[in-house]
């Protein structure tokens, strides 16, 4: 797709009017890129067939900056929703895709995002089957917002529910935490903090599917700790099941540069956002095999057993520190704020 063929360099209000300009935008960029039997109908929506139960999840993406090391708002919009469907035990198949564009966005940037969405959707095995494009006045958006909704059939062996969790169940993560949040921090203006940290944004559905194929009902829960980080999600789980979560700090996978960045900025990696990390809570009888499978998978090379469910301290997450002391891990309240000195 050449920018010259599009005929305009920036997106304006007219492109969201529903008229001729909208048609150009859709025909030349959206339909060309995402062409598939569902979308090619150019109807108001798509009709799809599912067998049995389906998982549906929706998410909106409002990230600044829109391009960052390891991804962009487009890849994030696919990964985020694909992963949420997978966390439910679903096998993601279809996505809806809706843009809210602030007028003035460069068409070249829009094309870059759309192509990134296409590439990420292909890699994740999902089709874009319906969508929407709106344009808002300058100052009423932040370049571009994206909403995606994902649909996937529930894996036949899946029985994912927080209520299946029992005392003694083990908690694993698939990889290094806090990568995404720190990658974004390092690219925000005004922080004078540069690094090579890349976002971990990736699709987790194939690893999840492998785990379900192999271990079925022994897998009690999947959760991806995106905003609020690992600490907040574990706290939610402890509260949902009225049991305790016990962690050991030394087992939490944290890359050196990310750890150093968190130290410098005064942030706790337990609350920093992730986009390619998920927690698995499993029956203790399969923990070794689950860990082995994860470590052998491309998306789980740094997998680790980080803790377990306990009947002690219900509703609380307790972490043993590196020096052997204990602390609670409370949920994140607002945004993590950098400290003064």
């Amino acid at each position: 797709m050449n920018i010259e063929d599009i005929g305009f360099e920036t997106i304006n209000l007219g492109h969201g009017s529903g008229g001729e300009l909208t048609k150009i935008l859709l025909d030349k960029i959206i339909f060309t890129t995402f062409s598939n039997p569902f979308l090619d109908q150019k109807h108001d929506g798509s009709i799809v067939k599912f067998n049995g139960k389906i998982a549906i999840s929706t998410d909106s993406f409002v990230i600044t900056p829109i391009f960052f090391k390891g991804g962009d708002i487009g890849s994030l919009a696919v990964h985020g929703t694909v992963n949420d469907v997978a966390m439910c035990g679903g096998i993601p198949k279809y996505l809806s895709l809706a843009f809210i564009i602030e007028e003035g966005l460069k068409v070249s940037e829009f094309i870059q995002i759309v192509q990134s969405i296409k590439k990420t959707a292909d890699e994740s095995g999902v089709l874009i089957i319906t969508g929407d494009t709106k344009v808002v006045e300058r100052g009423k958006g932040d370049k571009i917002f994206i909403n995606t909704t994902g649909f996937g059939e529930i894996h036949p062996k899946a029985n994912i529910s927080v209520h299946n969790i029992k005392e003694g169940d083990k908690i694993l993560v698939n990889g290094l935490i806090a990568q995404h949040g720190m990658a974004i921090m390092s690219e925000r203006e005004g922080l004078q903090f540069e690094s090579n940290i890349e976002s971990d944004s990736t699709n987790l559905n194939f690893l999840v599917q492998d785990l379900l194929d192999q271990f079925g009902g022994k897998i009690k829960l999947f959760r991806d700790p995106t905003r609020g980080g690992l600490g907040t999600v574990l706290h939610e789980i402890a509260n949902d099941i009225s049991k305790g979560v016990f962690l050991k700090e030394e087992f939490i996978p944290l890359e050196r540069q990310v750890a150093a960045g968190c130290e410098m900025l005064g942030l706790d990696p337990m609350y920093v956002a992730n986009e390619g990390v998920f927690l698995v809570i499993v029956d203790p009888s399969v923990v070794t095999e689950v860990l082995a499978l994860m470590k052998n998978h491309e998306k789980g090379k740094n997998a680790a057993l980080i803790g377990e469910i306990t009947s002690e301290h219900p509703n609380k997450v307790v972490m043993q520190s590196l020096i052997g002391g204990k602390r609670i891990v409370s949920p994140l309240v607002g945004e993590q704020l950098p400290r003064i000195c």
Partner: protein, 363 residues
């Protein structure tokens, strides 16, 4: 990180903790001055690893906590007047008398969260038609950078930049705490970062006057247990000396270049401490020669003194008279999402440390 890991080492820390257990025979109350130290003690679970007889009392070294209510209100008023207000992140959620800076931002104020005041000078340069104010709070640690921003603005001829300054000093606060009749402190861990700037000389007179051990201490678990060990050892032996546990960072005369910059822009004057009140000669005020960079003189900010929330015992917390979990409101009406006072908000506040990390609250 290698450096940090050495100071978070299980065996090394345990060895010192074992020594503390071995030498402790009497009850000792030791105050760590800095909120960063408080957080490290609680977050690493050190408090429960100490002998029962060694009690840590949490000090006033939380810049956000001691910044007067009226100054937060003034920053909010500037924001509402259309001034670009720049602040360290930690400050923005602290409740003023009506709202916080964060709430004022949501209502349309142009609030920028920065790591360095020098950035604020750049913002002033990029926005010549706007006034830019940096909310310059903190102890001796942040004073050099704040002073430097003023010198930077002067050098560049930037006239739309000023600072709303509330700098406080550690030694006068220690004296105020020791002079309080309810004070039960036997020894201090002085704040390592403050001493990295100022050196340690100002603490000798305190040691002599109050006959109390002062250990200049760092922030990592091993630093803290070493500092506690040095204090307990002196107390058990009946000594009172100034010792420097944090010698890898803190030099006798501090950072002389930084001190020169502070002295150029600031002079010592009386300061109000939130929760504690006015302490003579306990802070920095902007010198006459730099008054045009003083936001309080530059802007006509009308101000009505508003009382603190009467249910908040922040003053007693900051003076170490009470611990956060001895407050009736703690974790009930006062939580980080809805704080009554600043110590529940700041990442260096004792109440927030207890709320977020304290293992005492497991049951």
């Amino acid at each position: 990180m290698k450096y940090l890991n050495e100071y978070r080492n299980f065996e090394a820390t345990k060895k010192v903790l074992d020594e503390i257990h071995k030498i402790t025979t009497s009850r000792w109350n030791i105050m760590e001055i800095c909120g960063g130290q408080t957080h490290s003690l609680v977050k690493n679970g050190i408090l429960e690893l100490l002998p029962e007889k060694v009690r840590m009392i949490h000090g006033p070294g939380c810049p956000v906590c001691v910044t007067p209510l009226n100054l937060i209100d003034k920053a909010i008023e500037l924001l509402e007047q259309g001034v670009i207000v720049c602040s360290f992140g930690d400050m923005i959620r602290v409740p003023g008398s009506k709202k916080s800076l964060l709430e004022a931002k949501a209502l349309g104020g142009d609030l920028r969260i920065l790591y360095s005041p020098i950035e604020a000078v750049s913002i002033a340069k990029q926005n010549p038609d706007k006034e830019v104010v940096f909310f310059a709070v903190g102890f001796e640690t942040t004073a050099p950078a704040n002073a430097l921003s003023v010198l930077h603005a002067e050098k560049e001829g930037i006239n739309n930049y000023s600072i709303l300054a509330s700098h406080v000093l550690v030694p006068p606060a220690m004296e105020a705490i020791l002079d309080d009749e309810l004070c039960s402190i036997d020894g201090f861990l002085a704040a390592g970062h403050v001493c990295a700037i100022m050196g340690i000389q100002e603490y000798y007179p305190l040691v002599d006057k109050y006959k109390i051990p002062i250990i200049v201490t760092g922030f990592e678990p091993l630093d803290l247990v070493q500092g506690i060990y040095m204090a307990v050892k002196q107390l058990e032996e009946g000594n009172y000396k100034l010792e420097n546990q944090y010698a890898r960072i803190v030099k006798e005369h501090g950072n002389e270049a930084a001190i020169d910059i502070i002295k150029k822009v600031f002079e010592v004057g009386n300061r109000e401490w939130r929760g504690i009140g006015e302490i003579p000669n306990s802070g920095y005020i902007i010198k006459e020669a730099y008054r045009k960079y003083d936001a309080e003189s530059k802007f006509n900010i009308c101000y009505i003194k508003v009382p603190e929330n009467s249910n908040c015992i922040a003053g007693e917390i900051l003076k170490g008279i009470k611990k956060p979990n001895q407050c009736n409101q703690f974790s009930k009406t006062c939580k980080p999402a809805n704080p009554l006072g600043a110590p529940m908000v700041s990442s260096e506040g004792a109440c927030a440390a207890y709320y977020h990390f304290s293992n005492n609250l497991i049951d």
